[in-house]
Amino acid sequence: MLNGLIDGYTQSLLIFAGINVIAAYSFFLPFKTGQVSLGQAGFMAIGAYASAIMTQKFGMPFSVALVFGGAVAGLVGIAVGFPALRIRGVYLLLLTLGFSEIVSVIALSWDYVGGAQGFRNISFNPYTLEYVIAIIVVLLLFCARLENSSLGRAMDSIHQDESAAEVMGIDVVRIKLLAFGLGAAIAGIAGALYAHHATYMDSTTFNIMLGVEILVFVVVGGGSTFWGPLVGAAVLNAIPEFLRALREWLELVPVEWTNFYPMNRVYDFLHGFLDFENAKRLIVYGIILILMMIFRPDGLLTRDSVRRLRLPGWKRRHA
């Protein structure tokens, strides 16, 4: 459907950005109940491998495999969620980090899914972009409804003061498990979409850095409103493209302006800096994070800015 409208490069770009948005929402749901997980990449891996097994080894259609991947990741998420209930803060970070590492070691050593050679020749799904857009829309609707509901309010109260919420009769255990499981299922779906677009993955595809990146999306976008993950993931995915455009503009500068000292040095520096293909990406991420923590520690969007901008869902239903 969209194949005729958008060229392949842009399409691929949008798909990876969209998968990152979905992954950001998988982090956002447990975060809404105060659970910070660095292991969302692990759940993505589970969803990716489970769905790829379904399509490649059992010949299932992609839609079935997508649901299966999400379900398996969700079930594993609930299993991981139980020990996560009693653990908070830094310790929960470490637990989820460890979980993510376990998943990638299993992927590395399990020959059925390719082992060290990686999982090859996964069937390509030509409609990934449509799937991605549809899932993001569903997630936004889901979060908007949650925001205006009693359950969403209960989740917020758990985030703000877990023991006070528990004493007020909120079933903290079930709600936290539900949020963790749903988050894991969403991550699984993101992984399944990734696997059937990239058609290849190995044990390092869903590594810890990806888990950290997912966290950064939500922290930059703002974790107190459901618009945050969308904005954070979109902005951070647009930055490489933005820098690429800057670089192209830089190349339009006439040569005679820059072929003498010190302008040639300045030019070379900028040209190298805007080259986003390498590890400099992480430098930019790092700089953004530091600036964010200084100037906007609650993220680009907070509940107040959503109210001021009057984005959909800005008003809780009671008002």
Binding site: S150, R153, E166, M168
Partner: protein, 213 residues
């Protein structure tokens, strides 16, 4: 001396056999025991009305699945019936405590005395049969304390049993039906305020021996 659990047993029917008194706090609240905190613990980013509605959540949605269903499966621009009832009850409670005009303020923006009242409102929203107040007058000025005095009496008149831990003697002696005096964890006297006040052991423990004026 009776164990603390037995009091709760008598009032709320909690049974030790099923984990009763030792159950998770949320289960205890469901069985009708609510409490406030000595050091205020409100949800800083929720509004006053939302805070009270948190207290009602456990009554409106004892099951998480119902809550999830109501959140997701309602028609667009319609709120679930339970939500409207919760809001009406919350506003009624806020009027009862004199906070109705501040319902859209952030909980953390309220002055100290109002935050205490909001804690009471949130605890009452769980529809308790037994309300435990942990030093509710701590840090209050005399005017706020006398207001609290009236509020506690009105809560009692609603049919809620109140256990109050407090060392503001004017408050305790003014509103209590029954006073228990503890000294280093040991009960030294129990009875009406008058009998306790004139009990020599109490006077000895709290004022010292051989007081002659």
């Amino acid at each position: 001396m009776r164990e603390p659990g037995e009091v709760c047993l008598a009032i709320t029917g909690l049974s030790k056999r099923f984990g009763g008194f030792y159950a998770r706090p949320s289960r205890r609240t469901l069985r009708g025991i609510a409490r406030t905190f000595q050091n205020i613990r409100l949800f800083p980013h929720l509004t006053v009305l939302e805070t009270v509605m948190i207290g009602e959540h456990c009554r409106a949605y004892p099951s998480v699945w119902r809550a999830l269903g109501d959140a997701l499966l309602r028609p667009p621009f319609h709120e679930p019936k339970a939500e409207g009832e919760m809001r009406a009850n919350a506003i009624e409670l806020l009027e009862f405590l004199g906070l109705a005009d501040k319902q859209d303020n952030k909980a953390s923006d309220l002055p100290y005395g109002d935050q205490r009242k909001l804690e009471l409102a949130r605890a009452l929203a769980t529809k308790p049969r037994l309300l435990l107040l942990d030093e509710p007058a701590a840090g209050m000025n005399p005017r706020e304390t006398s207001e609290l005095d009236q509020i506690i009496t009105r809560i009692r008149d609603r049919g809620v049993t109140i256990i109050l831990v407090e060392h503001d003697m004017r408050l305790v002696m003014g509103i209590s039906d029954n006073v228990t005096v503890l000294n280093f964890g040991t009960k030294i006297a129990e009875g009406t305020p008058e009998t306790v006040q004139s009990d020599p052991v109490v006077i000895e423990a709290y004022l010292g021996e051989d007081v002659t004026l």
